[in-house]
Symmetry: D2
């Protein structure tokens, strides 16, 4: 879901990168890291958030749990009620983090829609930035 | 979205692979290829579907458009009404294929939920198959 | 090997992207596409080169075979004598494109070394651009 | 380089996966994790090795440095003399871990060559397992 967000951010004209992809540069003060983990226990996410925090990046953390390793590093900015790989939830009969991922996508797409309207960016502008080798 | 589906398919106990990832084996008769492109013009998707068809794989094709290069190779099994990078749609004010991707995720998660209930697979079974190095 | 090259190009301070990664922008006139296929028959590579050519990008093509689908689209700029998935070679007992990949890496690293010396870039400059979230 | 190794391992008929790819299953006792970091300080590699060790997996660790965070978790099985992002080396004028990566590729390809000869596997057998959608 975060990759879908990064792609849309690039398409509305912002510099966006995905942690772990080939040409992602060094994180710096002034960068914003957006991180999500339903359980808040995904160790690569915890480690990345901790490291970005030390390096002075701004953070947005999204989780289904605030009582977690991730929650202790950084209180989640957005909490989504959902099952995780460690717990079930009354919010849905769906397994694991399915509901969490659906909500992430909707939240991100809503943010992109709002941002693209502010900028008066059109479908055409975004289509021009859409990858043309695919 | 197809990666999210492949991950869940693996977690309910099926052999699933993503085209283009490192250890994805050769496609064979008896394999099922699931392909999606909102516009039906994503050339890598068209090429993959055509090649898998020649190699005798079964196909499920999902698109927002049946009048497309992809639609001519294989009539879409599921058609989702959505804007694409080439056209806008009355179905939503969202840009590009956003609605298409949201619908894909919901359709896939619904299929996974039904498949996991048939197998009487539980959240616990799926959690055990969840990647433990992440 | 091309990902290793893209990473080093970024580290010596150039804008570099990998086709198919999340935030890779639209290719444009003035961009340089570097493509490699031992057999010259990898269909995604052929399609990408053809599409980039139409969109006006400059091309560097590397292959073990000039009598190939890729070779017909664009005569290889660098030819490396090696076995491929379709042919064996006297050049080495190694299977498939192993020799081709080793030679690619050496050629790319030699180019990077030369480029980094011209720019008087040091190990320190490159280390600063090295991904810091990994 | 580890992805190149995983691809060849799959092609000689072994079950191989890349940590972090979509359908990589849970690691288990009996699995072998192969990890490499020139500096021995890549935090995702350190974390993965530590976690796999706890989960009972066998380990092969390759590094340019034994006096490192990674070296303290697990003494490197193979040490390659090379510069890293933190240190230069007399072994080569090449920047960062370039020499390390070249040596990794050669060591892995030599291992694959030996394994494929033991199994009397031929270029043809491997070509059949080579990804056919690419």
């Amino acid at each position: 879901m975060l990759k879908a967000l990064a792609m849309r951010l690039m398409q509305i004209g912002l510099d966006a990168y995905v942690v772990g992809e080939t040409t992602t540069p060094s994180v710096e003060k002034g960068d914003l890291l957006i991180a999500a983990s339903a359980s808040g226990e995904t160790s690569s996410v915890c480690m990345t958030v901790q490291s970005a925090k030390k390096q002075g990046a701004d953070l947005v953390v999204i989780s289904a749990s605030s009582e977690s390793t991730l929650g202790k590093i950084q209180t989640p900015d957005i909490t989504i009620s959902s099952a995780t790989k460690f717990s079930t939830s009354d919010a849905s009969i769906q397994p694991l983090g399915s509901l969490f991922e659906q909500m992430l996508l909707i939240v991100f797409d809503a943010a992109i829609l709002e941002m693209s309207q502010e900028d008066k960016g059109s479908n055409d502008d975004m289509a021009k930035r859409h990858a043309s080798l695919e």
